[in-house]
Symmetry: D2
Subunit: 135 residues, 4 copies
């Protein structure tokens, strides 16, 4: 698991008095940095090796301003060139939102998917949700 | 169908040189304003009648800065108190991204779902994807 | 003058029930696209010729969700390599916010300011606030 | 001084490969939370006591993705009902951006400025830049 902790910003709220839903994909992408580093340890933007195919977010409960957020990030599926990142937003011991991003190991120059090396798969596997529960 | 046309902003780009994926949920929520007005014609924020349960977004192709965007918005499912909004991002005659938002007719004071009136269902139905193709 | 018209998005609001102040720099940068095109007609991101040195924003009145915005953009000062862009946010016939961006004609490869050609100065001058009032 | 440390998010970058300038006002507002708590210890959104009159931001150097940010926040002027918050963005031992927000102690119900209590002034004063250097 990767863990990212921070406080919501005032600009993250909306007129309903809670955190606006569009913040969650932003937080989730931010919290995938640990996954990015598996593929690009120095986060070099000129040789970026990943592309996003799909996201979904389930909104379970309202998220409040003024209380700390933890985003928990797991690798929940590993395919040949694609993999799933499952993420949760926790606040005050409650899972407020969750979602999955389908990512593809990708070569931007050739504009095509690239198989994930076996050693990278092992690293990704160490962040699987089940692996997490076992440890 | 509701249509929302605009140009991407420079701040919508990311270091990969295209529009960042987190803009799409923002654009989609913006383009659901037509749906919001079905439930709240004056968009009164103090009696807001909707809550978001789930979103998904499929990313089909890279979206560019400098070219006009059209977001097309349809009501793709109408349940008792919930309904689906299906949306597409078009740029240069290509559907670049699509996704569905599951919305719930909701009373914030009582914190519970509320059945959708029959007359509102008729208005929503007039924005169905099939209805659209017929006309 | 360059004019940019649009509706605020729901995600632009904050918990105080109005448009959050951090939206204004985003709107202003978006509305400077006309100025960008003076220097880069095709908005080519690989040869971007401008850098931002300073911004200020004065907040005159609260900006509301649900009412159309017009951002008005003027070139208010032209120096050797730098120039000022003065901008206003209008809503319901009231100037709600205003501000100035100090921009520099810039070569990213050489990381240095570049003098503005005389013919570009003439185009910029045609967007001066006084020029505007005269016409 | 208030200090806020975090990593930029991928969505904070723009097509020029650095952090987009519009992130700085967002980071600055986020980092003013310590100041907000002087006026509203529980950050209650229903009795928010502050309004923003003006901001400026000077951009000194490009800010990079992948390297930690520290936002340093000082109270640089205290008036009768208004005060200035001076802030700096630090990355890799360099001050990359700085700016001042003019805030007003404000009653939203009566829509008017309110004098700042002497005891609050003392707390604000303890975050003055000079006070900081002395300690």
């Amino acid at each position: 698991m990767f863990s990212d902790e921070f406080y919501p910003r005032f600009s993250d709220t909306d007129a309903l008095g809670h955190i606006n839903n569009t913040c969650i994909p932003v937080w989730f992408e931010g919290a995938r940095e640990g996954v990015f580093k598996v593929f690009s340890p120095d986060l070099d933007l000129k040789t970026w090796p990943l592309i996003l195919a799909k996201i979904d977010v389930h909104f379970h409960a309202q998220i409040f301003y003024g209380e700390k957020i933890e985003v928990r990030t797991f690798v929940s599926r590993i395919g040949n060139s694609s993999f799933d990142v499952y993420q949760e937003v926790w606040q005050q011991d409650e899972c407020k939102a969750s979602g999955t991003a389908v990512m593809v190991h990708f070569c931007y120059q050739q504009q095509r998917a690239v198989a994930i090396d076996e050693n990278l798969k092992q690293i990704l596997l160490s962040h699987a949700p089940t692996q997490e529960k076992r440890s």
